[in-house]
């Protein structure tokens, strides 16, 4: 089981590295440095305004909230997957060893994070909350003990889970109560209380650790955790594991092509719904349109705004092209008694309508950007001509080639 853990850990770390490359690209690292620098600068300036002589009533609640939030990082990476419930079930007893390694690794990372958090908070604890250095250490110790308690709670859930809401409230209420005591009465009592909680929970968990493993919960938790991570990576690059399903968006139904009988233009019906309900297309359309609107209204130089409008219109159509072949893999596209030429016509109609909506929005952005009526009219004519060119000519050429 140790081998299994180490093998899975290696694969997992390799994957994190692979996607990490896309996240920590040069641009992002530069931006991150600037951001961190700005935050550090602001923080140190803020600290300078504090004095040991003044009493800040808001300091303790703020620190309490920060510490409780800090406790949420991080959860346990168990690296289990769906097939495990079938293949590893006979090895259930040995899973305890596996989990021990998993917990150990996550504990190490989590404690490092907690300690870094405490270190960053230390000057504020001293100058804002007016704790002595010793007391800061005591609070730090309390935080660490709470994180270990957190892990014990997680361990408990893997065997004989308590009600989920019950556990979530414990994870918040206990630290809040203990920190209230620590800050308003005495940090040492807080420490003792947290220690007792930990020991009590530890004792309880030891008693139940012979119970069978709660496989479905274990697997669900890990799936959700990995989904969160992949969703974050999906902001920077295409992650195959993230397949965003279609969103219903009932409120947009009235704007879509209605079913008409008789008609051969079924692809108007189908593709309009795909464009609106599939985040793959609706997402990029909305983003491009919004960025274009911001740019057009912000740019002062008229001809530059026009160029931007033309460019973004082209980009919108370009990004819309894959929609034509979106259902190519669906066998019914080939079985339905509908000629391919209608498919192309419908796609062109749809593109024209989408582009017209965008054009109107661009014109409104121009108005916001204080264009004169004459300039708006010229922009309208330019965009109109581009619309016809793109939807009638460009699409036809581009799709015949693909």
């Amino acid at each position: 089981m140790v081998d299994l853990w180490q093998k899975r850990l290696k694969i997992y770390q390799k994957q994190l590295l692979k996607y990490g490359k896309y996240v920590f690209n040069d641009n992002f690292i530069l931006a991150l440095f600037f951001m961190l620098g700005a935050i550090a600068y602001t923080y140190s300036n803020f600290l300078k305004t504090l004095s040991l002589k003044e009493d800040y009533w808001w300091a303790k609640p703020v620190v309490l909230i920060i510490l409780v939030l800090l406790l949420r990082f991080i959860k346990v990476a168990t690296l289990v997957s769906k097939p495990d419930i079938v293949f590893l079930l006979p090895k259930e007893k040995q899973m305890k060893i596996y989990l021990k390694y998993a917990f150990r690794r996550s504990k190490q990372i989590a404690l490092v994070i907690q300690i870094i958090g405490i270190i960053i908070l230390t000057p504020f604890l001293i100058y804002g909350v007016h704790l002595s250095k010793v007391m800061v250490g005591i609070i730090g110790l309390t935080q660490v003990i709470f994180k270990l308690t957190d892990f014990k709670l997680i361990q408990n859930q893997y065997f004989q889970p308590w009600n989920k809401k019950y556990v979530e409230s414990i994870r918040i209420i206990f630290p809040v109560i203990v920190y209230l005591i620590a800050f308003y009465i005495n940090p040492i009592s807080g420490l003792i209380l947290s220690g007792c909680l930990y020991l009590g929970l530890n004792f309880y968990v030891k008693k139940i650790s012979d119970k069978p493993l709660n496989w479905t919960y274990l697997i669900d938790q890990e799936n959700n955790r990995q989904k969160r991570i992949y969703t974050f990576f999906n902001l920077f690059t295409d992650v195959p594991q993230i397949k965003s399903g279609a969103k219903r968006r009932k409120y947009l139904d009235k704007f879509l092509f209605k079913a008409k009988y008789p008609t051969r233009h079924i692809y108007q019906f189908l593709l309009s719904r795909a464009a609106v309900r599939n985040p793959e297309y609706s997402g990029i359309l909305i983003r491009l349109t919004l960025i274009a609107m911001v740019v057009i209204s912000a740019v002062d130089i008229y001809w530059l705004a026009v160029v931007m409008a033309v460019l973004f219109s082209y980009l919108i159509i370009f990004q819309l092209l894959p929609l034509f072949n979106h259902f190519e893999g669906n066998v019914y596209t080939h079985i339905y008694p509908v000629k391919k030429v209608y498919q192309l016509q419908d796609f062109q109609t749809l593109s024209m309508i989408i582009l017209t909506v965008c054009d109107v929005l661009f014109l409104i952005s121009g108005l916001i950007g204080k264009m004169t009526l004459q300039e708006i009219i010229i922009l309208m004519v330019v965009l109109g001509m581009e619309n016809i060119l793109l939807s009638r000519v460009y699409i036809k050429i581009k799709l015949k080639i693909t």
């Binding site: 399903g245 279609a246 079913a259 008409k260 079985i335 339905y336």
Partner: protein, 186 residues
């Protein structure tokens, strides 16, 4: 050259395709369309009469207990429900030929019964049904002719009597017996 009611794919693809309804083994659905919209798509694609088709659709939806899910995404349904959606969409077409791939997998006994009734009704209407299945007992009970495949080759075809004769099987041999004997002899 395959002809359906005299029309081949080369002659008139549109008329040819209008005569066929297909139910795949694994449900193939539009992720972005609701159940209602799937039916609307079928009606538009096959150029059906709107009122007649919706009447039949509503009857079928009631039979398969899907009528209150008409505004949902079938992509989110269970496997059995998805298959029922495929069945509903296929059987409102009044096609001349139904091609049904492994229809019994994933359906509960009630739904299997309902599907077989539907097939019977279409048979009486004069439609043809080409069905592939491994459930030989049910096939024997409901089908008129059989084509037995083994290792990708057509090994025998005909009615049950013809198969019994050509495969030198016993007088009361079941389809399963005939097939196993044929498969073992290679």
């Amino acid at each position: 050259m395959i002809r359906i009611e005299g029309v081949s794919l080369d002659d008139d693809p549109q008329r040819y395709k209008e005569k066929i309804a297909y139910i795949p083994e694994t449900p193939i659905l539009y992720e972005e369309l609701t159940l209602k919209e799937h039916i609307e798509m079928t009606i538009m694609a096959y150029n059906l009469d709107k009122d007649a088709a919706w009447k039949k659709a509503n009857d079928l939806l009631k039979v398969f207990r899907l009528e209150n899910k008409i505004d949902w995404f079938p992509a989110d349904f269970s496997k059995g429900m998805k298959q029922k959606v495929m069945i509903v969409c296929a059987f409102i077409t009044n096609a001349s030929l139904y091609i049904i791939d492994e229809p019994f997998l994933g359906l509960d006994p009630l739904a299997i019964n309902d599907l077989l009734n539907l097939i019977e009704t279409e048979k009486k209407r004069g439609a043809g049904i080409l069905m592939s299945t491994h459930v030989l007992a049910t096939a024997q009970e409901y089908c008129d002719k059989f084509v037995l495949l083994h290792e990708g080759q057509v090994k025998a075809q005909g009615t049950l009597e013809q198969l019994r004769a050509s495969e030198n099987s016993q007088v009361n041999a079941s389809l399963s017996d005939i097939y196993l004997k044929m498969a073992k002899e290679g």
